[in-house]
């Protein structure tokens, strides 16, 4: 695709766990403003890939470039400062802090850290944006699951990311929450945030993603518009499984 203008460029990245190649020579590009779905059956290496981009894991080989500069192997805090924010597969909020402080956690240490009164008003704005203004003083641990997800998103947005990684952010929501959550992501997308989302909820992928990268056994097996990519024979085989996928 548009390699020269790619915001994120993953090139030949490999990560092993013992003898298992969780990610095996994977390459893909994400252009500025795009929403890309990272799909694949369980165990295909999607979360590992997210962890490699966010710095939670270091790749054994390959390069990961954010707007041209190599970030592969940097610690997560440096990567966060360069403009990559993430949510977690198992939602993580700061349990003993209230919602306002949870968002300030994202504001205080990013590329353009804010603190004090400015951070307070920005945090209020972000809580409003995700529909949680009324929960500002509630502790993270007292929130419902949906509200924790919203709070996590607000914290990630507080970093003013150039790239937002959503790791199964829609998982575990009931149908009405799902509608709400997709609406929220659409709003964020409207504000021009580039996103990579690992997701199993096909409705969300169809309605939100410009493009999909589909993985199986650590490698890319298809890439393209969601409807087309998902229809490719190898993808169908990977999901529905014949002898090839074990």
């Amino acid at each position: 695709m548009t390699t020269s203008t790619a915001l994120l460029s993953v090139c030949d990245v490999t990560r092993r766990f013992g003898s298992l190649r969780a990610v095996d020579g994977l390459s893909f590009d994400i252009a500025e403003g795009e929403i890309v779905g990272l799909l694949g059956p369980n165990g295909s290496g999607k979360t590992t890939m997210m962890n490699l981009v966010s710095g939670a894991l270091k790749p054994d080989a390959g390069t990961i470039r954010l707007a041209g500069s190599d970030i592969a192997g940097l610690p997560p805090n440096r990567i966060a400062r360069q403009g990559i924010a993430r949510t977690f597969q198992l939602v993580r909020v700061l349990p003993s802090m209230n919602c306002l402080d949870n968002v300030k956690a994202g504001l205080g240490f990013g590329a353009q850290p804010t603190w004090g009164a400015t951070a307070d008003s920005k945090a209020e704005g972000l809580l409003e944006r995700v529909g949680m203004a009324h929960r500002r003083l509630t502790l993270g641990k007292d929130l419902t699951y949906m509200d924790q997800k919203r709070l996590e998103l607000a914290r990630a947005l507080a970093l003013q990311p150039r790239l937002l990684l959503l790791d199964e952010w829609l998982a575990g929501l009931n149908p009405s929450e799902l509608v709400e959550a997709i609406e929220l992501l659409r709003k964020v997308r409207g504000e021009g945030v580039t996103m990579v989302m690992v997701e199993h909820v096909m409705d969300a992928i169809r309605s939100l993603c410009d493009r999909c990268v589909i993985m199986n056994a650590g490698a890319k097996i298809a890439e393209g518009m969601p409807a087309e990519a998902l229809a490719e024979p190898e993808v169908v085989r990977a999901y529905l499984g014949d002898d090839a996928d074990a």
Partner: protein, 326 residues
């Protein structure tokens, strides 16, 4: 905001009143009173500086006595050679550097591993000092003959406690303190929010170690005779831990609430049941962890939180009911 500045003002007034009170105290009490005052102040500083790091970060350290002992031994070795101010600075400096080195290599350990490591560290330092004193210096014990009175010890400790409260207050309201709370809640989140967690942990750990060493140095002249089993007595680490937990380690003033009853209790136990002291110490520990896991300050906080949730002040009404029904 106004509530914040009001509590800051209240804190400042209380601090000032405490300093004046303690500074005047030696004029009103006798030897026993002074010795109790020294105990209070010593444990107040140790527990507050312990909680400054361990409270927000959740890294439970049993190395308190390692730094306390470093301070005491700095006085025992150099007390007569250098001016007193220099000795104190050196004690704090040595502890800071030791904590820095230890922290860099071990603060990656989480939970119980860190607890055990910190305990081991204190024992290691004690044994090393023991070995050095008996094989290289010739005798296990040392005498500390310094012309420092009980009154002067009280005054110095008061000054250090005041300084500690100011430093602790500055840290608490700074981004460093906030980051430390994030680390205590979820280290992974802190890291992915851009926090340099190693730097923050090591910095505050070392700072708290410096204060612990200052206490050790200031109270050392009281002992006259010093050996590693006195200066590095592991009971001190446990006592400090219990006091901070009883008072509540997540608030700057919390440990103080634990120090006062505990010093009295320990005084009572050690004078009436000297042989059962360790057993009773353990029982006290169990009782506190079981009954007030977040300390007295934690109890106060949870009342405040409940009150705030019931009366959030603003942005309540229709909106809240509609959204919470979701």
């Amino acid at each position: 905001m106004t509530m914040n500045s009001r509590s800051t003002l209240l804190g400042a007034v209380l601090l000032l009143a405490g300093v004046v009170g303690l500074a005047l105290l030696p004029g009103f009490v006798g030897g026993y009173g002074l010795s109790m005052a020294i105990n209070f102040l010593m444990f107040a500083i140790l527990a507050t500086s312990w909680a400054m790091f361990s409270g927000p970060s959740g890294y439970v350290s049993l190395a308190t006595v390692a730094f306390f002992g470093i301070g005491a031994y700095t006085v025992a070795v150099l007390g007569e050679q250098l001016p007193w101010g220099a000795v104190l600075l050196l004690a704090a400096g040595i502890a800071f550097v030791v904590a820095l080195l230890v922290g860099l290599s071990t603060l990656r350990l989480r939970g119980v591993y860190f607890v055990i490591f910190s305990f081991g560290l204190a024992e290691l330092i004690r044994q090393v000092v023991n070995w050095y004193e008996s094989t290289q210096a010739g005798s296990v014990g040392r005498y500390v003959f310094l012309d420092i009175t009980q009154e002067q010890i009280v005054w110095q400790l008061t000054a250090v406690l005041a300084l500690l409260f100011i430093v602790g207050w500055l840290i608490e309201r700074s981004r460093v303190g906030f980051a430390l709370r994030m680390i205590g809640d979820d280290e992974t989140v802190a890291l992915h929010c851009g926090v340099n967690i190693t730097l923050i942990k090591v910095l505050v750990f070392s700072l708290s170690a410096a204060f612990m060493a200052l206490v050790g140095a200031i109270v050392a002249p009281r002992w006259t005779y010093l050996d590693p089993s006195i200066a590095f007595n592991p009971n001190i680490s446990f006592q400090v831990l219990i006091m901070a937990l009883l008072g509540g380690a997540r608030r700057l003033y919390g440990p103080l609430l634990g120090v006062i009853p505990m010093v009295l209790l320990f005084e009572y136990l050690s004078s009436n049941f000297p042989h059962l002291f360790s057993i009773l110490l353990g029982i006290t520990f169990l009782a506190i962890v079981y009954m007030v896991p977040h300390g007295v300050a934690g109890l106060i906080d949870s009342y405040v939180q409940r009150y705030r949730e019931r009366f959030p002040g603003r942005r309540v009404g229709k909106n809240q009911q509609k959204e919470s029904a979701l």
